[in-house]
């Protein structure tokens, strides 16, 4: 928008200056950088205040000892040293790795299978997809409560069915036995996350041109060869991103374990997130809890580095 010379000339000279200034302001606002930063400032301030600041404050907290409602004392790396010699913390770390690893593999394999099954022509495909995605839609806490009831040792669905068909006289204590409890937690996470893998990989499958498949068939490739040498390589980018996402969210998972087992029995299912919660909110040790939460970042970094180097090799 440039100033209009005709209008400009028609105005008395004395009023020309403020009008010019107004036009300049408008021109200034039209500059890409100015417009951009005016738009960006409110959301960035919000994110800095409620995401950036808490993060920095959390880092600070991890270096102090601060019981609830008492002043903080600086302890340096003391919190991390305490965690290092805390056997429950290491158990939580080990559980987090096992939980994330097993659940991710199950979700990936199951999701790939689900996508391949869904990538065929059949009626009511849209409805099928919508229904199979339900476990992912329903609020996690609510479906986890249902699972707690399914796994209930006395009257839960699993044991009732086992007893009803006469397989056992007394079903196993799914959430009371340390090994079974971890298996149960992995099972529930898989149940919830598998459709996410399935639907996303299906969307990836649908972007593969059918001509490629036809060409491969004409060249004499069987269905396994088509899958191995055409489908899978083309799906790799999608699989990589979905898996990375899932690993991150599974690694930081809190609500599933908090509701299903509370970390028990005897810390057998404590994840780093639930342990950090129990230290800080249950034990009132804000500094130590913050350190335990932050310790998840390098651990997750390890997982992601390992995964990307594995993918590069494959």
């Amino acid at each position: 928008m440039s100033t209009n010379p005709v209008l400009e000339a028609a105005r008395p000279a004395a009023r020309a200056v403020p009008v010019r200034r107004a036009f300049q302001l408008r021109e200034w606002l039209e500059r890409e950088a100015v417009f951009s930063w005016l738009m960006l400032t409110p959301p960035l301030l919000f994110l800095l205040a409620f995401l950036g600041y808490p993060f920095c404050y959390g880092v600070y907290l991890s270096f102090v000892r601060r019981p609830v409602a008492q002043p903080a004392t600086f302890v340096g790396l003391g919190n991390f040293v305490n965690l290092w010699s805390d056997s429950i913390f290491w158990q939580a770390v080990w559980n987090t790795f096992r939980f994330t690893g097993a659940a991710t593999v199950l979700k990936l394999v199951g999701g790939l299978g689900m996508a391949l099954v869904m990538h065929q022509n059949f009626r009511m495909k849209g409805v099928t997809r919508a229904l199979l995605l339900l476990p992912f839609i329903v609020p996690t806490v609510l479906s986890t409560v249902a699972w707690q009831w399914i796994l209930d040792p006395g009257m839960g669905m699993f044991n009732r069915i086992l007893m009803y068909v006469g397989l056992v006289t007394q079903g196993p204590s799914w959430l009371g036995n340390p090994t079974l409890a971890l298996v149960s937690v992995i099972l529930v996470n898989t149940w919830r996350g598998l459709p996410f893998f399935g639907i996303t990989i299906l969307a990836g499958l649908q972007t593969i041109p059918t001509e490629l498949m036809e060409t491969a068939t004409i060249d004499g490739a069987g269905s396994w060869q088509r899958f191995r040498y055409v489908t899978l390589p083309l799906l790799m980018p999608v699989i990589f991103i979905v898996t990375t996402f899932s690993i991150i969210f599974t690694f930081f998972d809190f609500q599933l374990v908090y509701v299903l087992t509370g970390g028990g029995p005897a810390n057998a299912t404590h994840l780093m997130a639930t342990y950090a919660y129990s230290i800080s909110m249950g034990g009132g040790q804000m500094g130590l809890g913050s350190a335990a939460a932050l310790a998840m970042v390098p651990m997750l970094g390890l997982v992601l580095v390992a995964m990307s180097s594995y993918v590069r090799k494959a």
């Binding site: 249902a146 209930d152 009732r160 969307a203 930081f252």
Partner: protein
């Protein structure tokens, strides 16, 4: 796929695995429904067939409405989800529009920061966040979650919208500018209306995420009347070691209903939001 399969192969390759997937994905809902419709006498009768309902009863639903604040929890959940979704969409647009369509220094760096912010979970921040909210004197109020949920939702909305904004050709905006529209007008009258599907995807997805949130709600909502469904259900229907399974399942089913209803109307947009990050990126 290529060619028509014969029926035994179609049975083994499609119908059997599809049936298995259905059972795996949906049996917990059947179990919820069956449990919620049985009175305690039948529910805890070891001789009864667990998957059958002999005497359907609404007693658990009635108790849920009469004895607990369930109706309030549903209202709170909807209110919080709605407010935080609208707030997040608004801030998300302000973040995404310049990053997707403008050229200025630091744009690339900011776009990466948004992606990283999306991956920061509440598990990492809850200790300092609890402290921050308490110092702001917002503890035990719905404002606390309305303010903290957008920290999860804004980066997500922005990230998804950046992808949508990029699909609109630059020429449209340039044409509007040449016709004398300001950047603001070009944005609000030309570009944003074209991105309605993007807003729907981001909005629906953010809405379900907000309904699903648990950790901040657990930290900040202590009074029964201001709780959301997940916190209310786990905090008040499980009392010590006593599980009111009938009521719990009724609550789980009813609490899921709003999300499922909205989802069923907008499945297309939800799936678009779900897959946008991984398929396009």
């Amino acid at each position: 796929m290529v060619g028509e399969l014969t029926w035994p192969r179609r049975l083994l390759g499609l119908w059997v695995p599809l049936a298995a997937l259905f059972v795996f994905a949906l049996f917990p809902f059947a179990w919820m429904a069956a449990t919620s419709l049985k009175a305690n006498a039948e529910l805890y009768d070891p001789a009864a067939n667990p998957m059958w309902i002999r005497h359907p009863s609404l007693v658990h639903y009635i108790d849920l409405f009469k004895e607990t604040n369930f109706v309030l929890w549903i209202g709170n959940t909807m209110l919080v989800a709605l407010v935080s979704t609208i707030l997040s969409l608004l801030l998300g647009v302000m973040l995404a529009y310049p990053l997707a369509r403008m050229r200025f220094p630091a744009a690339g760096l900011l776009a990466i920061s948004v992606a990283v912010a999306y991956l920061v979970p509440q598990t990492l921040l809850f200790v300092p966040m609890a402290d921050l909210i308490n110092r702001m004197k917002l503890g035990d109020s719905l404002s606390a979650v309305m303010l903290t949920y957008p920290t999860l939702l804004v980066p997500f909305c922005a990230w998804l919208l950046i992808g949508y904004f990029k699909t609109v050709p630059r020429e449209l905006e340039e044409a509007a500018l040449i016709d004398g529209a300001s950047r603001w007008r070009a944005m609000t009258r030309v570009i944003l209306p074209l991105c309605t599907p993007g807003f729907l995807s981001a909005g629906i997805f953010a809405f379900t995420l907000a309904q699903n949130e648990f950790l901040y709600a657990l930290l900040f909502l202590n009074t029964s009347t201001i709780r959301t469904v997940p916190v209310g259900v786990t905090g008040e229907l499980i009392r010590g070691d006593a599980f009111y399974w009938g009521q719990l399942m009724a609550a789980a089913l009813l609490g899921s209903l709003p999300v499922v209803l909205i989802y069923s109307f907008f499945v297309k947009y939800y799936v678009a939001g779900l897959t946008a990050g991984s398929v396009k990126g």
